[in-house]
């Protein structure tokens, strides 16, 4: 609470960018451009991974900060996209795990209107509601596959796991989802 108060009262939301040499300013600009291309996609991914707008914003911020700090680790500039989304996925995974230790979120219990935009979007459909019954691992595969539009090989890259594992998780996730929504849709189609 103290930190937040100090932060809000200080008016220093934007740092005065002090004088830096041209080279580092060029790096800043390049980073800024590369990141701004990523932000909305990242927000969508984080939003549906976490099903919580506030937390998704936090995750995007955190990933941005981490990317900035770790910029020197990025060897090839054209890999920025996959590198950044790897960071984002890691941030989200950590948050999901932390959350599973704290409290469970269930889409069903949330009000459809006026609530969280991601949660209400998910709550519109039985599939979306069933998503919250998946474990963190399975849920990440599903969201990356369908909301991130990533092929399974790329998912393996983002999560840092073998493609075989991704395939089996994907299959298990689909099975679980089907079992979960069958009663709702009234039998197999």
């Amino acid at each position: 609470m103290f930190v937040k108060e100090a932060y809000l009262q200080s008016d220093v939301v934007r740092a005065p960018v002090d004088a830096r040499d041209d080279r580092s300013r060029a790096i800043d600009t390049r980073f800024a451009e590369a990141l701004s291309d990523e932000l909305s996609g990242a927000y969508r991914l984080a939003g549906y991974l976490l099903a919580d707008a506030a937390e998704a914003q936090d995750a995007v911020q955190e990933a941005s900060v981490r990317a900035w700090r770790g910029l020197s680790n990025l060897r090839e500039q054209d890999k920025f996209h996959s590198w950044f989304s790897q960071i984002l996925v890691n941030v989200c995974r950590t948050r999901l795990r932390k959350r599973s230790r704290q409290r469970t979120l269930d889409v069903d219990e949330v009000d459809l209107e006026g609530g969280d935009p991601f949660r209400s979007a998910l709550a519109r459909d039985a599939v979306g509601r069933a998503l919250s019954s998946l474990s963190t691992e399975l849920r990440m595969v599903v969201v990356l596959r369908y909301w991130g539009d990533l092929p399974l090989a790329d998912i393996a890259d983002r999560l840092g796991i073998p493609i075989g594992t991704v395939k089996s998780r994907h299959h298990a996730a689909l099975q679980t989802l089907r079992r979960r929504i069958e009663p709702a849709t009234g039998g197999t189609r």
Partner: protein, 529 residues
């Protein structure tokens, strides 16, 4: 893949495509630029530095202390290995080549007697002891006619001195000490060494004596260590010189005792008259020619020295011995201590490993060097205290008083850095310009720290995940955490906020509420219908 999987895939695909993504709030999009004043993550050392065991503040302090201790231990270990193989009593038996390789090996030398010369200067320390011991052994092995130790010293440590005079006393060939050239001194420990040689010569214009426990600053031993302790040290030194002088000449005993008891210093002529030395010689050649025909006691037997027409072979200290002897300089030991303490302090505040390692090396070298110097514990403590105060200045606002006190402590400590606790040690002081320079360096470091800290304080607040900042909570649905009656706590946007009800009444824990507006840091909420 089964059909049902395929169906499920299609359904997910369509559903995902139909879900929209709200726009990212402007604050979130803007934040990455705000964090750019943060420094980027450094390389390998930086990662080493950022190891955080996660035990909180106390844990980090313990961790820092452990790391500094480990750094010191590593540095000390390396130096111990180097030092032991090159110097040190026990190691000289393990490592044979103590003196440097011969310049003119005997194998090719013309037949005839040979005299080995061991030039020494500076403080009597472990390095000199191992050099002389090794040189004497080599002269014995080469079958030299005699070994000459050329001496010019103000004194040194008692243990090194004992090693040297034992080596001279127990040599299997005649031993000669020559105090020279003109201007040289055989003070304190040097007196003992000179008198313990089989034959002793001094050049004109050299001095012997002042082997007494008089402190450098004019104060005496009793004032520093108490009368009993002083008497004990004095009696001990007197007994030692009495037994050494007895072997030289019975008439020299009383004269030798005055060098200890009264701190008397004598010229070459006076020493000769008192039977303290065998003659006055102005060069090695004169020493060699005068020594010829003299009778000395070697291994308890009377031996006549044959050095007529002998060639002289000089054994020099090797490079490492010279460097280690250089550390005995009172000024260098002081500088190394200050640099070492500063580096260790820097390491504590800004861990980099490299600086800490350098500091540890400097400290260990300083302690090594000051081992043969009359270090005054009080002076050392004052210097360290001074540095500590100078460095603490930025942390404890004292408007410069701490810095001033630190500087005073530092300078006083520097002046009193050396005392004179024994009859063997040389008198030593730190030069004024060096005290001033090091004090200025410490103060400059302290000021630099202040400047850096101030700059850090004025820097933008770093934005991390822990700060949600300007998240717009208005319109969000939250849960009452602490009953609103009307003031309480609401959990919204994954955070606990102080909240109050918009209207009358109360809301119990668990009720869903909607945020209507924000008043400062208080949310105004109304129950969800």
């Amino acid at each position: 893949m089964s059909d049902s999987d395929f169906d499920m895939e299609e359904r997910l695909r369509r559903f995902a495509a139909s879900t929209r993504t709200p726009p990212l709030p402007a604050e979130t999009a803007a934040l990455p630029w705000a964090v750019q004043s943060e420094s980027r993550r450094p390389g390998f050392l930086g990662r080493l530095r950022s190891i955080d065991p996660g035990w909180g503040r106390a844990g980090r302090a313990v961790y820092g202390a452990v790391r500094i201790t480990a750094t010191l231990a590593v540095a000390f270990g390396i130096l111990l290995v180097v030092g032991q193989t090159r110097t040190g009593g026990t190691a000289s038996e393990i490592v044979v080549p103590v003196a440097s390789p011969r310049q003119s090996p005997l194998a090719g030398a013309p037949s005839g007697p040979e005299v080995v010369v061991l030039p020494t200067s500076g403080v009597v320390d472990d390095v000199m002891a191992s050099y002389v011991t090794g040189g004497v052994s080599q002269a014995e092995a080469d079958g030299a006619a005699a070994v000459v130790v050329q001496l010019d010293t103000l004194g040194g440590s008692e243990s090194s001195m004992t090693t040297i005079y034992k080596a001279l006393e127990n040599a299997t060939i005649p031993t000669i000490v020559w105090v020279g050239p003109s201007g040289a001194k055989a003070a304190s420990a040097g007196t003992f060494i000179t008198l313990s040689a089989g034959l002793a010569y001094m050049a004109d214009g050299t001095n012997i004596g002042a082997a007494s426990p008089v402190a450098a600053g004019g104060g005496d031993l009793a004032a520093t260590y108490g009368q009993t302790e002083a008497d004990k040290v004095l009696a001990d030194a007197e007994a030692a010189i009495r037994s050494i002088a007895q072997l030289r000449h019975p008439l020299a005993v009383d004269w030798a005792v005055t060098t200890v008891a009264n701190a008397q210093s004598y010229t070459a002529q006076e020493a000769l008259t008192a039977h303290g030395i065998n003659g006055v010689a102005d060069s090695i050649d004169q020493v060699v020619s005068q020594a010829d025909g003299q009778t000395v006691t070697v291994n308890g037997a009377q031996v006549v020295v044959h050095t007529k027409g002998a060639s002289t072979v000089t054994l020099n200290e090797d490079a490492i011995q010279s460097i280690l002897q250089g550390l005995d300089d009172p000024n260098i030991a002081f500088i190394l201590l200050v640099i070492g303490v500063l580096c260790v302090v820097v390491e504590f505040f800004h861990p980099t490993l490299v600086v800490g390692l350098l500091g540890a090396f400097a400290l260990v070298l300083s302690f090594y060097g000051s081992g043969s110097l009359p270090l005054n514990v009080l002076g050392v403590a004052l210097v360290i205290l001074g540095i500590a105060m100078i460095v603490l200045e930025p942390n404890l606002p004292s408007h410069g008083l701490l810095m001033l006190a630190g500087l005073i402590s530092f300078v006083v400590g520097g002046v009193a850095f050396y005392g004179s606790p024994g009859p063997y040690l040389p008198t030593a002081t730190v030069a004024w310009p060096i005290i001033a320079t090091m004090a200025a360096a410490a103060a400059a470091y302290g000021l630099l720290l202040v400047r850096t800290l101030l700059r850090m304080r004025n820097r933008a607040v770093p934005v991390g995940s822990g700060m949600v900042g300007t998240v717009n909570v208005i319109g969000m649905i939250g849960t009452v955490e602490k009953d609103l009656a009307p003031l309480g706590t609401v959990y919204v946007a994954r955070e606990a906020w102080t909240a109050r009800l918009a209207g009358e009444g109360s809301a119990l824990r668990g009720t869903q509420v909607k945020v209507v507006r924000k008043e400062g840091l208080v949310l105004v909420v109304e129950p969800v219908a």
